[in-house]
């Protein structure tokens, strides 16, 4: 399905109809529902037209003094109306429900697709834009498939069925009645066009109101500090006044639109009254036809009004489809499952090796240059270097969050590009700098990578991360909900949660990006001791990017990075002797540690 979409990209602009054709499989799923809906819609309109016809005949029988006929008509009318009630409910329910089903399917597919997209996509597209695809664009397509198809087809059938009946009764009267129609459609499309432009303008001013409010509430301390409340009040009043003026214009236009719609019905009645009255006097029609005409015209007033809305829904639905297509046509830039068949051992043994790795983010200069590095199993490494030297990029490449050039990154002598992504990520656990937690319980967050974890395992992990006691202090302990709707954790707690989540997996390769930046020195010491105990078995590799001294002294080797290159890799003592860059960094860290303890002591005394 995505192959199609990618091919399309090369053909540049597509007609909307083509676009819908390419995604037909999404729409065809519910074809039976659609057909049922349409069928009942036709039935509805047929029955709907028979009501005025029956009324006409009933009236005619009064006129011709045949009252014995009347009961039959009433029963028929009641029957028709009742069947129509059923048909109406079914047709509406089927078609509007179709919109909901489409919404469901589209969201499901879209979400599934988005999960396959790589990190580069998410850095390029802000969350807000994606949310808008998921919510607004999908909604536009729901309106198109549901309400749009209902209104559109209803209008079509209403005209197709009502018109012949009217012509049959009186071609002349039909002609006069429909003289108004083009005028009505023209007027309505004109006004609704204006309403739309004005509406956009109003939305624009409302956005200004919102922007000023947003900015001033954020900067309220500045406004209050400088006693500028009355200035800002004036500014807010200015934009509110502008909003009032634009909205007043919109009000007038909306009232016009409303009145034009109502006017058409009234004019229709006038036409029937004048022309129908004349034809009655002349003897061309009877009083029943006269009544039927009024009722038939009334029947058409709603479908006529719906024409404009249908067009809008089609336009908005098409635009939404195009935007969704843009997302659907993106594919992951990572080699995904190329090696599925040839792949045997999911867990290659041995170390991690980087050979002459150079990496750049799309359209940027290289961040990593000619990296050569060999990490042996069973050891702990620390990656140090100034902010922006490429530490985080290096770590994030190992689980292939970004595409890794072929022949540069090996695990157990095997190029990571020849491993399925899922196998690679089973061996490698990477803890990014930001400690993102989901709005869920602590337990579920911890067991995120392994939902079937047992409670003792969770406790072991939180104990290592020195978090267990704090979790137990919460009223609901491990079932406490964290995130937006729950308990707010401190930065340090979040970080240790993320750490516990990562070490719970006991992966062969553990990569931690600055995992202690929000943890105090004492806790850090505890965590490192526990972590080293946990990681020292077997053939595990631990790589930590950090500045903190306590880890540096415990590591098997330090990797020193500068401006995207590896400067040196050696033990702490030896680097301290040989590298002046490292000495300086170490001294600053030591002094800062001293300063911190100094203040802590000061606080004690």
């Amino acid at each position: 399905m995505y192959d199609n979409a990618v091919l399309l990209k090369h053909r540049k602009r597509l007609l909307t109809i083509q676009l819908f054709w390419y995604y037909r499989h999404l729409f065809l799923v519910h074809r039976w529902r659609f057909l049922t809906g349409i069928l009942f819609l036709v039935a509805c309109n047929l029955l709907g037209v028979s009501v005025p016809i029956l009324i006409q005949q009933a009236i005619q029988s009064i006129e011709t003094h045949q009252p014995q006929e009347l009961p039959r008509y009433f029963w028929l009318l009641a029957l028709t109306a009742t069947i129509m009630l059923g048909c109406r409910i079914v047709s509406r329910q089927q078609l509007i429900g179709l919109g909901r089903l489409m919404e469901y399917t589209l969201r499901d597919r879209l979400y599934q697709h988005l999960l396959t997209l790589p990190q580069s996509f998410y850095t390029a597209h802000p969350t807000g834009a994606l949310m808008s695809r998921m919510i607004n664009d999908v909604q536009a397509l729901r309106y198109l498939c549901g309400g749009g198809s209902l209104l559109g087809f209803n209008t079509l059938f209403a005209y197709l069925i009502t018109l012949p009946v009217m012509i049959h009764y009186s071609p002349r009267l039909t002609f006069y009645a429909f003289l108004l129609l083009p005028l009505a459609v023209f007027l309505m499309s004109m006004i609704s066009g204006r309403v739309k432009t004005q509406y956009l303008r109003v939305q624009g001013v409302l956005a200004d109101v919102s922007a000023i409010a947003q900015e001033n509430f954020s900067g309220m301390s500045v406004i209050q500090s400088y006693v500028k409340e009355s200035d800002e009040s004036q500014r807010f009043k200015g934009v509110s006044r502008q909003y009032f003026q634009e909205f007043s214009t919109l009000v007038r236009q909306r009232v016009w639109l409303f009145l034009v719609m109502a006017l058409i019905t009234s004019l229709g009645i006038l036409v029937v009254l004048a022309e129908g009255g004349r034809e009655f006097i002349v003897g061309e029609i009877n009083i029943g036809v006269f009544v039927a005409f009024i009722l038939l015209l009334e029947r058409l007033s709603w479908p006529t009004a719906a024409m404009g809305w249908t067009v809008t829904m089609i336009q908005q639905g098409s635009a939404a489809m195009e935007r969704l297509h843009q997302v659907f046509s993106v594919r992951s830039d990572l080699v995904l499952d190329r090696s599925k068949k040839g792949y045997k051992s999911p867990f290659p043994q041995g170390g991690l090796e980087l050979r002459n790795l150079t990496f750049a983010y799309p359209d940027e200069l290289p961040v990593l240059k000619n990296i050569d590095l060999t990490l042996s199993p069973g050891k702990t490494y620390v990656l140090v270097g100034e902010v922006g030297c490429g530490k985080s990029t290096l770590l994030s490449l190992i689980p292939r969050l970004y595409p890794v050039p072929e022949g540069t990154l090996f695990i157990g002598r095997r190029d990571v590009n020849t491993m399925p992504l899922s196998a690679l990520r089973q061996i490698v656990t990477y803890m990014p700098q930001h400690s993102f937690l989901f709005s869920s319980t602590i337990e579920k967050n911890l067991a995120y990578g392994r939902p079937d974890s047992l409670y003792p395992d969770l406790v072991k992990a939180t104990q290592t991360a020195s978090l267990h006691e704090e979790i137990q202090a919460f009223p609901e302990q491990y079932s406490t909900i964290v995130g937006e709707r729950g308990v707010t954790l401190s930065g340090g707690q979040r970080q240790r949660m993320a750490l516990a989540r990562a070490i719970l997996l006991t992966s062969r390769i553990l990569l931690l990006d600055d995992p202690f930046s929000n943890v105090d020195a004492e806790t850090e010491e505890k965590i490192i001791n526990a972590l080293t105990k946990r990681r020292m078995f077997d053939d595990k590799i631990t790589l930590i990017a950090t500045h903190r001294l306590s880890i540096i002294q415990n590591a098997d080797a330090i990797i020193l990075m500068d401006k995207g290159r590896i400067v040196a890799m050696d033990t702490h003592e030896r680097l301290l002797e040989s590298q002046s860059f490292y000495q300086k960094m170490h001294r600053v860290q030591t002094l800062q540690n001293q300063l911190e303890t100094l203040w802590d002591e000061g606080a004690m005394s």
Binding site: R88, I135, G219, M220, R235, L259, L270, E298, P432, A603
Partner: protein, 623 residues
């Protein structure tokens, strides 16, 4: 795998929709509907004459609307039945004229009433904004900005919808319904009775369906909120999802949420569809009943065809607004909810109160009052929460024109001290005095005008350089009319050696800063903040020095700016760098909300206390 375990796993995997559905209710003012509407009265009052006029117009409006079908009736029973073409033409002309009158009236009533509604909205919105400006940081710290923006936009919009859909429109519908029913009663009371019964039936039926539908829509809304959160989290935590290989599980999780939403939607669709269909059905049934009873009456000769047709038209006229009533009810409900939320905001009282008595509170003196700049803290105790004091028993005195550095660890109370001094919070115990006048007895305006702070990352507005410097709403027009003002601003920048701020704006004082000044460097931002402070020429100047490192040139520039800004003013600096501390006359060392040391650099170095050790450490670090 055992059956038991599998079951457990399924349970664990079933996505917790309920977790999202348990949403806490928002703040409420706890008022009943009518009381809420009464709260709006002060806003409605100024427009009572215009509204009264609109109400008066409703009489001819309703009359003309009711008269139109009656005219149809007379036309049919008169000229048409009698075959008089000339009279028919006249009647049609009359119909057209009446129609014209009716629509003109309707236009004015609708437009006037809605514009009055908008005026009310305007007043309410600006009042709300003004009220929010009086609230202090305590309020802003616990209220998300997004929520406040929603109040002044969406909630006010809901209210606006309510005023245009509800209010006069509903009254208009009601008068029409009553007018029609009255007119029908005079023409044929039996048929009217039937119609009335059907009206009651339809209202009951719709109400029944509406209740279920509303319950459904509430649930859909909650589902949508849950989905929103889910997307938001998924997209911002995508790396975690992919790294922990949760894609499959997330697809399942999302599907269960999506399915639960679909189920509710499909149920609700059924109710929604049924509402329209039942309304249509009952309308047709009424027509049939009228036709049946009417035809009997016609045959008895007590009714005419014209009246029958008029009744047909009347039935439509009565039933149509009833069908809309449900929608309008929803709009009114959400409008009322919004009023409730808005009133809850209006109920927030500022916790900083202006001085209630004393000579200094009088307006005339505020503008002329110039402080010398002496600061006294007298056994001050303060905590953001009373039981957790941040400042405990702090006392010190600073002379006018003195330059003091404040030193202390994170959490020592340095920033809090500034907030107390600018009276964003009131002390719990003790007192703060400026020029020996307790802060509470000075007008707030004076305090804030005389004490100016530069916070570490103070707010820049997405406005022009001139506006950011002066914070003056009318600065652009003032710049145009007053050339000296521009040179004054320029002189400030020149003094600060920050004229590149202006050249970066292509020498345009009125061009908005790019991205709220985000493309300025840290140093440039600081200098702009200095310029802002200098323009306002306060008696006391407080600076929170940036902790992050800046390049030596910028550092020197900022040092210079500080020297300039502190000249002739009492200056407090929360300092980190030695050079900054050495610039000050005295240093105040804080720890845990208490004064540890206070004295000149030389004194403190000799004392061998915290300061001396800090100095050693810092000196080594800065080398």
């Amino acid at each position: 795998m055992s059956q038991q375990k599998k079951k457990e796993e399924n349970q664990q995997e079933a996505f917790d929709v309920q977790q999202f559905l348990d949403e806490k209710g928002s703040a409420s003012s706890g008022l009943k509907d009518l009381a809420l509407i009464r709260k709006l009265w002060p806003y409605i009052r100024p427009h009572r004459v215009l509204l009264g006029f609109c109400l008066f117009l409703l009489i001819p409006l309703t009359a003309s609307q009711v008269a139109l079908p009656a005219l149809v009736q007379y036309t049919i029973d008169g000229p048409i039945i009698h075959g008089n073409l000339k009279e028919l033409a006249m009647m049609c002309g009359g119909y057209l004229a009446l129609m014209g009158v009716h629509y003109v009236l309707k236009y004015y009533v609708m437009v006037l009433s809605q514009i009055v509604g908008q005026k009310i909205i305007y007043a309410l919105r600006t009042d709300l904004y003004d009220h929010l400006q009086t609230l202090s940081p305590r309020f802003y710290n616990r209220t998300p900005i997004g929520k406040l923006v929603t109040r002044v936009t969406n909630d006010v919009e809901n209210l606006s919808e309510m005023l245009s859909a509800g209010g006069l429109t509903i009254l208009m519908d009601l008068t029409v319904i009553i007018g029609v029913l009255l007119f029908m009663t005079f023409s044929h009371w039996q048929l009217t009775l039937v119609t009335l019964l059907m009206v009651i039936l339809i209202v009951g039926m719709l109400e029944l369906l509406r209740r279920r539908s509303r319950r459904g829509h509430d649930r859909i809304r909650t589902h949508m909120a849950a989905m929103n959160t889910y997307f938001q989290e998924s997209f911002s935590g995508m790396d975690i999802i992919q790294l922990y290989q949760r894609e499959q599980k997330n697809v399942r999780d999302f599907r269960s949420l999506n399915q639960s939403n679909l189920k509710t939607c499909l149920q609700t669709v059924l109710y929604d569809c049924s509402m329209a269909a039942w309304a249509e059905y009952l309308t047709i049934l009424t027509l049939i009943l009228i036709l049946g009873l009417g035809s009997l009456a016609i045959m008895q000769g007590v009714m005419t065809f014209g009246l029958l047709i008029a009744f047909f038209l009347y039935v439509q006229m009565v039933f149509e607004p009833i069908e809309d009533l449900a929608d309008k009810y929803t709009i009114i409900q959400s409008g009322l909810t919004s009023i409730d939320k808005l009133m809850a905001l209006f109920n927030e009282t500022p916790d900083i109160q202006p001085p209630s008595s004393g000579l200094l509170s009088q307006k005339t003196e505020t503008s002329t009052l110039q402080l010398a700049g002496a600061i006294t803290f007298n056994h001050v105790r303060f905590g953001y929460q009373r039981e957790k004091p941040v400042i405990r028993d702090l006392s010190f005195q600073i002379q006018p024109g003195e330059h003091v550095a404040i030193i202390g660890h994170t959490g020592a109370g340095k920033t809090t001290l500034i907030k107390l001094l600018t009276r964003f919070y009131d002390v719990d115990q003790g007192s703060i005095e400026l020029d020996d006048i307790p802060l509470q007895e000075l007008p707030l305006e004076t305090v804030r005008k005389q004490v100016v702070t530069i916070q570490q990352d103070d707010f820049l507005f997405s406005r022009s350089l001139a506006e950011n410097m002066t914070l003056d709403f009318k600065i652009h027009s003032r710049l145009e009319h007053d050339p000296t003002l521009q040179s004054h601003l320029f002189a400030i920048l020149q003094q600060l050696k920050a004229t590149n701020l202006l050249s970066k704006q292509k020498n345009d004082w009125t061009a908005p800063l790019k991205e709220r000044g985000r493309d300025l460097s840290g140093g440039e931002r600081q200098l702009l903040l200095f310029a802002r402070a200098m323009y306002h020429n306060p008696a006391i100047f407080i600076l929170d020095e940036a902790t992050s490192a800046v390049d030596p040139t910028t550092e020197r520039q900022i040092q210079q700016a500080m020297a300039l800004a502190s000249k002739g003013r009492t200056t407090l600096v929360i300092a980190h760098r030695l050079s900054t501390i050495r610039q000050a006359d005295r240093a105040l060392v804080l720890s845990q909300g208490r004064q540890v040391q206070f004295g000149t650099h030389e004194e403190l170095v000799r004392q061998e206390g915290l300061y001396a050790r800090f100095f050693q450490c810092r000196k080594a670090l800065e080398d």
